[in-house]
Each structure stands twice: as C-alpha cells, then as structure tokens.
Symmetry: C2
Subunit: 362 residues, 2 copies
Amino acid sequence: VTQIPALRTLHVDGESVVILDQTLLPHSVERRRLESLAQAAHAIRSMQVRGAPLIGATAAYGVALALRADASDARLATALDELAATRPTAVNLHWALGRMRARLAPLPPAQRAAAAWREAGAIAAEDAESNRRIGEHGLDLLRALPGAGQRPLRLMTHCNAGWLATVAHGTALAPIYAAHAAGLAVEVWVSETRPRNQGLLSAWELREAGIAHRLIADNAAGHLLACGAVDAVIVGADRIAANGDTANKIGTYLKALAAREATIPFWVAAPLSTVDWSCADGAGIPIEERAGDEVLRLHGTDEGGRPALLRIADAATPVANPAFDVTPAALIAAILTERGAVRPDRLEGLRRAAAGDAREGL
Amino acid sequence: VTQIPALRTLHVDGESVVILDQTLLPHSVERRRLESLAQAAHAIRSMQVRGAPLIGATAAYGVALALRADASDARLATALDELAATRPTAVNLHWALGRMRARLAPLPPAQRAAAAWREAGAIAAEDAESNRRIGEHGLDLLRALPGAGQRPLRLMTHCNAGWLATVAHGTALAPIYAAHAAGLAVEVWVSETRPRNQGLLSAWELREAGIAHRLIADNAAGHLLACGAVDAVIVGADRIAANGDTANKIGTYLKALAAREATIPFWVAAPLSTVDWSCADGAGIPIEERAGDEVLRLHGTDEGGRPALLRIADAATPVANPAFDVTPAALIAAILTERGAVRPDRLEGLRRAAAGDAREGL
C-alpha cells in the first residue's frame, strides 16, 4: 500500500462521501464531508479533489449523492449535467458520468440510488486496481533503463499524479512506488507546478514514502534534462486523444520538448479511462482557462507555520491562466496503462483487446 | 526616456552610490545607499541589484567605493576579487571589473580613486547608450514581423531585462519601449520567472509605461507558443559564448525549444559586453546554484497590502535551484546588440568591427 493508511483521498461513510481537501495540503490535513450534488460539484470545481482519476470517481459518487432523495429521470439528467460542467479537460469525468448514465438510466427510479452507490464503488475499486497494474508495468520499464539497479534512477515528474490524484496508488508515481517496494533505487525531480503548486503534493507523498526527491522550480526542468541529470520523465494525463496526443497539467509539453532534445524517454501513465476515443487528436481537447487569481495568490504558511495566503501581485494585474497543454504523441515514448505500456500509435490495439476481453467476460 | 523619471536603478550621490532595492520591488520602493566595497558586494550577491548590465555597472562603482580611503595595489586587487566572486554566471561583472583593472592598475595610487569614479561613470553611460541602440535595432526587427502595424504584435519575454536590469532602457524590453514610443502596437506575455519572480518587475515596468501585457505562469509559455499566440520571443542574457550559446535566467531554454517548435523567432538582446569571447561555447559557462530557500519562500503582500513572506514548503524540503540555463545558438534567430542584430554565427564579425572602430578612434 503506497498511501498513508490513515489517509484516503475518498471514502464512503454512511450516506455521505468523505474527501481530503487538497487545496489545503500539505500545509494542513482536513477532510470534507460531501452530502449533496452541489457539494460534490463544488469539490471538483474548486479542486478540493483533483487528478483526473479521482475527479472521475468523485463525480460518480456525486451522482449517488444526487439521487438520495430523488432518483427521477429529471434529477439524474440534472446531476449528470451539473457534474459534467465542473471541469472541461479531464475526460475521466465524462467517462465516469457516461458509465453512471448507462448503468442507471435503464433502471426504474426506485432501484437507482442503491445501484448508483454500487457503480460508483466499482469505478473507485477499478481505479485502484488499474493503478496498481500501471505500477507493475511501469516497473518493467524502469528496470530496462540504463543504470537500473547499479545506481539510483533519476526520474522527473510534473504536477501530482500520485495517490492523491487517484483512488489509490497514483498513476505517474505508481511505478516509482513499485520500484521503491521492489528495492530498485530511484530519486525523483519534482517540479513545483505553478500556479497551483501540486508538485508540493508529490514532494509530500514521496517524503512520507521515504523516497529520495528534490523540489525544483518548473523553469529548471530544461537545464536538468540538458545536463544529463534525468533518466526518464513520467507524468499523468487529463485526457488522451485516440492518436496519443495528451492533455496534462500546463507545463508538461515543455518537459516533453526538453526530453526529446536530450533523447530521454518521456512516458505518460494513465488508466485507459483517460483515453477519449471520440477525440481524434489533441486539437479537439478543450483547454480549461482558470481564474487569474490562481497565479496572483499562493497558499502556504507564515514563518510561524500558520496557514497563510500571499499575494504576489495586485489584483489588477492582467493574467492568462491556461490550466493544461497538449503534448503531441510524437514526443511520447510510451503510454503506460493497466494493460501495459504501448507506443502512442498502438493505443487503438489496447482498446480492441479490452473490448474483446469484455465480450469474453474477462 | 523609458524609466520612471524619479526612479533610477543606480546613481551617484556625493561619495556614495544609491540603488533601488529590487528584492522589495514591486511591493515596495526602497533605496539603499552603498558606501563601501562590502555593501556593493552584498547588493550584487543578494540581488538588490540584478540584471547582467546593472551588475556590471554596480561592480564598477564598487571598485570606486573600495578605493575611497585606500587605493593601494593590494586594496585594488582585493576589491576586484571580492566583487568577482559575487555572482558566477553574469559575465558583464567580469567585463566591467577587467575594464576597471586595465584603467586603474597602471595609475599611481593617488590618482586611482578619481579615475575609478570616472571609469565607472563611463561604463554606466555606455550601458545606457548601448541599450538605447538595442531598442532602435530591435524596433527594425519588430517592424519586419508579419502583422506589424496591422494588429498588435504579441511578444513574449522572460525574467526582467527591462530598465530595472540595466542603467537605463533595458535590453529585451528596449525594443518594446521603442515600438511603443514609435506608435507600433505591442502586447507582452510576461512569464513570472520562478523562483524569484522577476517577471513581476517586467509587469510593473510595462504597466508604468502603459504597455499592454499579461502575466503567465512559466509553465504556460509552451501552450501559448504552440497555439499561435506569440509573434516573437525576446529575452536578455547573462553571458553569451563566442559561438552564440546564451546563458540566461533559468527557464529561457524551455521557451527557446517551444519557439523553434512553433517556428517563432527567438531573439536575445544584450550589449556586446555580455559576450565572453574566451568562452568557446555554452559548455564553458558556469551555472550558479542558489540557495534552496529561494524556491521555498516568496515575497509578496498579505491581503492588507503589507509586505509579507510566504513559505510554500517547510525548510527541510530538499531543493535544487540552478539559476541559469544555456540556450544553444541553434535555437536563436538573432542576437540583438548595440551594433545591430546578427545571427549567432556572425557574432565574431561584430567583434572585429568593434575592434576596428576602436583602432580608428570611433
């Protein structure tokens, strides 16, 4: 188990869902109880829960919360619409909502509430299992890197695609946790990931797991790749187009360019639920533009360790704040899924294999 | 005149030198009076003055301050050594100190103090004039961009290479100021430039000058370049090798990679004093590693507008903090100097022309 046992990103408690409030992490650890559709939608929109897989699971539970008192067709439609509108880029959200719709719409309203809790639970359990497998497949890639086992492998990640971003295990960090568990030495370059500094979540996870790491400004990634300090880059994904073009946290693309220039492998780790088969390539992926205030204000602590908010420039400062960018498939050496690692142009083969297994009841 | 008339980055007042303390800008405007070698060295080391050209001029005045009471050979040597050790990457520092040594060492000690003030003044005046010319030559490049004059040109910069980084006018921002003065519409993408957020200085300069701009997280540069939102990238330099490889603020290299990918011109603006002719290529440029605390703590204001310091992660967090990176000459479309804009492989020609002019007394 990679996460801190006492902390789970999301769990069911009676008729509500309890989440870790990630806007306050790692400065303070607080839980929020979600008891309504509105609270679930707010948790996703405000990034109390974040990370594409965790957003998907939270949205599924949001449907269950929405149907507690009223499971009519109209209420189901409202819940699906409201949750779908929370974040535009992460496709796991739409995948999870599509799955909830397919499961619940055919049922009589009286059976929907219980079925919604079961289906959301299944989505969450499958996410944990997918990520465990991503870790295993990723470990195979790590073992094949030059120097593996002879010296610590130096891996670079961006944002947080650890257990905090998922129901369990993480995506990009899953192979790193698997390596650590298997006794394969690794060190991790953690990019702070402005403007929301989710890299601090990765640093916190790695520290708790006892894995060597160093925090860097996002700007430092190019220099470190160019000077031979990195063996591989591994990131998560918010949406992968059918051709392998990958939307992930803003700044990912710059790391992919620098990795190619340094002939260092650049890997994307994500469950197949992150692939949007309806999207032919990256040009079709909507890029969320978030409030400028995210750039102008930062959460942290004062010198006494008390939570504090800092303004780095006054509120009148004009800001642009795109939250994601698209890394072209040509820059990606492998996409690491629960069904193994493939070149981006082989994604479609995994889809056919998965569909075949489903037909055969595997 | 591009800077705020009442504010100068550096000026002589009696037997001391007055600087703007840039560690507090733009949150508060405070001046520091430098009266000794130690104070001048501290101002450079702590980045109260920053920007390669301004570091050079400040170091020259630091020699003058050092010689006020004692202008012996030993004192001159000590002053040159102490100032040279303040920052390893910016070569203008060494250039200015070399020029001071060449001017002062042959003189009898009794004549050195007065000569030091004159030579430092000449270095400062020449910096202002060089930058004014960089602005003029850069304006020619801007006028030749597709769309110039028909719609606002969208330029991207990094760090602060404005008037704050120089004695006057700036380097990368000089062409932007020249364009604005000439009525050529421009808009500027300002990268915040973590960890020290010097992009906020550029935003402040541009706001004071009435030039349209938007602040972005450093991570957003790749996306903006890839999606066609940028017409040219223009940055300053801390040291340029003889082959055109350019050391500049950490993160510059990532922008250069993304500019090449988008086939957008990437320009370096710097006076010829920034070229280190003794350095064949970028591999010979030392990269300053600064304290990790620069990444972990940020200056800004609290919600009441009072200066505040925020800690984004605890002091035990392991950090790497390289302050510069090297952009290979192959990624640079033009180096913009006081003698005109040239391709990096034509730098040597400018040097010969400058040497020829000097021989002829021009």
